[in-house]
Amino acid sequence: MGFLGYILISTGLVFFLGTTIGLLRFPDFYTRMHAAGKGDTLSTVMILLGCICLVSMSWLLALKILLIINFIFIGSPTATHAMMDAGNKAGATPWRKDSK
């Protein structure tokens, strides 16, 4: 069980690294959003699951962490959607291959 925890946390960190690089390197708002929205949610969920596996804890506590995961799973994509929509409505211009 503990071994699984290490693996999950490490994988989560790798995904977060991907998020960070994407956030820094992608050329425009929409692509950055893509990196941030997916990578962030996935890495957070993975690390939290890893915490459940790694630490011996009561069922109630595990349930609470699962609740956090649940909220992040619903909240984070919704927030991403809202921000994407906001960017679109506010007029963020998408990047094109031919633009400089």
Binding site: Y6, F16, A36, D40, L54, K64, G75
Partner: protein, 100 residues
């Protein structure tokens, strides 16, 4: 286990620092918003790590839960701002009256 968690936490903070670069660079507000949202989500994870290191995870889970919920509200509120106002204002207007 504690060493691993500490290392993971330090790595998380380091990556958060990189994400902060996006928040500093912008270029538009909505980019900053994305970066801050990512930092907010990762704070939840860090809070749980702190709980594990203290050996009192049950005390920290509640805070993390509250954190996640409020982070969601902030993201929604900030994106609503741009959904309703419908203009991504320039970072500064060149003097004179503001555009609004």
């Amino acid at each position: 286990m504690n060493t691993f968690i500490t290392a993971a936490g330090v790595a998380l903070i380091g990556l958060m620092l990189l994400v902060l670069i996006r928040a500093i660079k912008g270029p538009t507000v909505i980019d900053r918003l994305v970066a801050i949202n990512v930092i907010g989500t990762k704070s939840i994870v860090l809070l749980l790590f702190a709980g594990i290191l203290f050996g009192q995870l049950e005390m920290f889970v509640d805070i993390a839960l509250g954190y996640g919920l409020l982070n969601y509200i902030v993201s929604i509120a900030a994106s609503r701002y741009y959904q309703h106002r419908k203009s991504l204002e320039p970072e500064h207007s060149p003097g004179g009256s503001p555009v609004s």
